[in-house]
Amino acid sequence: MDLQELSLAVEKGKTKQVKELVSQAIADGMNVKTILDDGLISAMGVVGENFRQNKIYVPEMLIAARAMAAGLSILEPLLTSTGVKPLGKVVIGTVKGDLHDIGKNLVAMMIKGVGATVYDIGIDVPDKNFVEKAEEVGADIVCLSALLTTTMPAIGDVIREFEKAGVRDKYHIMIGGAPVSESFARQVKADKYTSNASDAADAAKEYLLSLAQ
């Protein structure tokens, strides 16, 4: 079968069709990694580009992401059994004292779209929970979000918690949120600051690909 058709179905957010086409591709004996890369992830790449070019909005991206997830759910057991690993693992959350979750959810969704496994640990997250989750799942990246000037310092607290636990160097720490800036990132010794969800996904992808090389 032609993976272009699958890719197009993901772009259009046609969940039912995506499931059918993934099943068909498997039945045709197609390589599962090829289905993942050329049928699902490449489609999300197109969707992301359309978003960057202001052709579509986030809701259209979410519809596509849901269609991709539906296809992925069929592929996942086969990926595991054949030893294919996701692009990487990302833990994401909003820091202690901060209840804002929309920006964090956007980043999580877009990072999923580039093929990483995302563990969203929610809002108002105590410092140590970031460390515990990252250690538990063997994360590559930890993303921290804050929307208030008064919760922004908690980003530094989380990073110090990683240092205290002696595991700071194991993780690439990315930060974001309205009051956060490049200079703040330098100040708290974060590895990366991005100002929006698209850039965060690009930066995560770039870092995870660099690990694979």
Binding site: Y57, A154, A197
Partner: protein, 458 residues
């Protein structure tokens, strides 16, 4: 007993203007809001620092520095009437004694400036709606509600003039709906959940205000419509959805007035324009001079019918001229001075229309705030008393109005936005007109772990 609104508070569109309203509010010091002049409302917050017991002393110093700077600037610029809003940080509501202490510093300084220099200022006290810190939210009891009551009561006793809040009932459902531009769920969140919470909440806030000599002010759907506005501004969600969200927050907001609030409505509540048309109560709004806090496509039009003009919030950081809250104060004072001079010279209506026309054709979120459109939507709202039906009908009418404006080529809209008018209409067509039937459908659809129906009495 709830008040009912069955018609607009205005006979003529020409009377619907900034600085005055049919039911002005008189504060304890005699300052009248909505009595003919528009006044500044200044809000501020701490610089980047944590809000803990360890930093409380420094926080109190910063707040004192801010209020001295703001009032000194008002005195220097001959601004004898203004409102100060103390919108607490979540930690200062969660530890009410901290918020109470800071409020007292601010209020006492305001009393001092009034006695010494004749600068009449009024305190709007806005604690956080902590109830959403429980997930799913516990709305009508518990530690968080108790803390909110404590800070409302004590600050009112200490001289807070106006009690306000940005309440969050229904927001736990709406957050995800915004990301999906899911108007169906937003109507459930606002028209069914939010409206029910507002009734309970504003009966309670009004009781606290009455018992402690304060004014039951108003609410804001900031977490609903302003979140949509900011996300639309960033190109994440359709502007059409954000514009419709602006209008559909009005029926929810009206519940506060029906249950005792008298205004002035809160600054970030752009739905206030519909409230003013329907209830005649004074309102605060924010626009270009709130760019220190957030961008918007409604910088001028927001001022057209405002009675107080706000900066939303600004951090105590040093700019070239001085600290940012003082800078904001000066900007607001000059904005108000110009508008009041226009009124005095008999050009108030011209000023209003200039503020409207300079924004309204460029963005659907501005168009939906045109005074004539506000009247059209408000008339639809008062046709029924059901908050749900009001919300649904407002959404339908708003889409019709925006489509009409596009067809007449008087509203600029991107192609990708225009296509969303039909998408949103399709969503509305699937909503039953009967509220009970709709609630039953939504109870099946909405993730039951995110909200607690019994907290809303459904």
């Amino acid at each position: 007993m709830s008040r009912q609104f069955t018609k607009l508070a205005y006979e003529s569109l020409d009377d619907f203007i900034y600085g005055s309203c049919p039911h002005p509010v008189t504060c304890k010091n005699g300052m009248v809001i909505g009595g003919g002049e528009i006044y500044p409302e200044v809000n501020f917050t701490l610089p980047a620092m944590s809000a803990t017991a360890d930093t409380l002393t420094e926080a109190k110093r910063v707040y004192k520095e801010i209020i001295d700077g703001v009032l000194k600037k008002a005195h220097e610029l001959h601004q004898s009437n203004l409102v100060i809003e103390f919108e607490t940080l979540p930690q200062y509501t969660e530890h009410p004694e901290w918020g109470i202490e800071i409020h007292k510093i601010l209020r006492d300084t305001m009393f001092e400036y009034e006695a010494k220099y004749g600068v009449k200022s009024v305190m709007r006290m806005t604690p956080n709606d902590l109830r959403e810190m429980s997930r799913p939210p516990i709305l009508r009891s518990g530690q968080y509600w108790d803390e909110m009551v404590r800070i409302f009561e004590q600050t009112a006793k200490d001289g807070a003039d106006i009690l306000a809040i940005e309440s969050t009932g229904g927001k736990e459902i709406n957050d995800e709906a915004i990301m999906n531009a899911d108007l169906r769920t937003s109507i459930f969140a606002l028209g069914c959940l939010g409206a029910r919470d507002m009734k309970w909440l504003w009966q309670n806030i009004t009781a606290i205000a009455d018992a402690n000599g304060a004014i039951s002010g108003g609410d804001s759907a900031c977490g609903f419509a302003n979140t949509a506005m900011v996300l639309a501004e960033q190109g994440f969600i359709p502007k059409v959805y954000a514009a419709v969200m602006r209008a559909v927050t009005a029926p929810r907001a009206l519940v506060a007035i029906e249950n005792g609030a008298v205004g002035p409505g809160k600054d970030c509540a752009y739905e206030n324009v519909y409230l003013k048309a329907i209830t005649g109560t004074p309102i605060t709004l924010e626009g270009k001079s709130a760019a220190c806090a957030h961008f918007s496509p409604i910088g001028n039009i927001a001022a057209a019918v405002a009675d107080l003009w706000s900066n939303e919030s600004v951090q105590e950081i040093k700019l070239l001229s001085g600290f940012a809250p003082v800078v904001s104060t000066e900007q607001l004072i000059y904005d108000c001075r110009l508008m009041n001079t226009a009124t005095k010279k008999g050009h108030g209506l011209l000023m209003r229309d200039l503020l409207v026309e300079s924004d309204c054709y460029l963005d659907p979120q501005a168009y939906i705030m045109r005074p004539d459109v506000v009247f059209e939507i408000s008339r639809e709202i008062v046709k029924t008393q059901s908050a749900f039906t009001r919300t649904l009908n407002t959404a339908k009418l708003s889409l019709d109005i925006l489509q009409r404006a596009v067809d007449k080529k008087e509203l600029h809209m991107d192609e990708r936005d225009e296509s969303w008018i039909d998408t949103l209409r399709d969503q509305l067509e699937e909503i039953p007109e009967d509220e009970e039937a709709f609630i039953a459908e939504m109870k099946e659809e909405v993730d039951a772990t995110k909200y607690n129906p019994s907290e809303y009495g459904i």
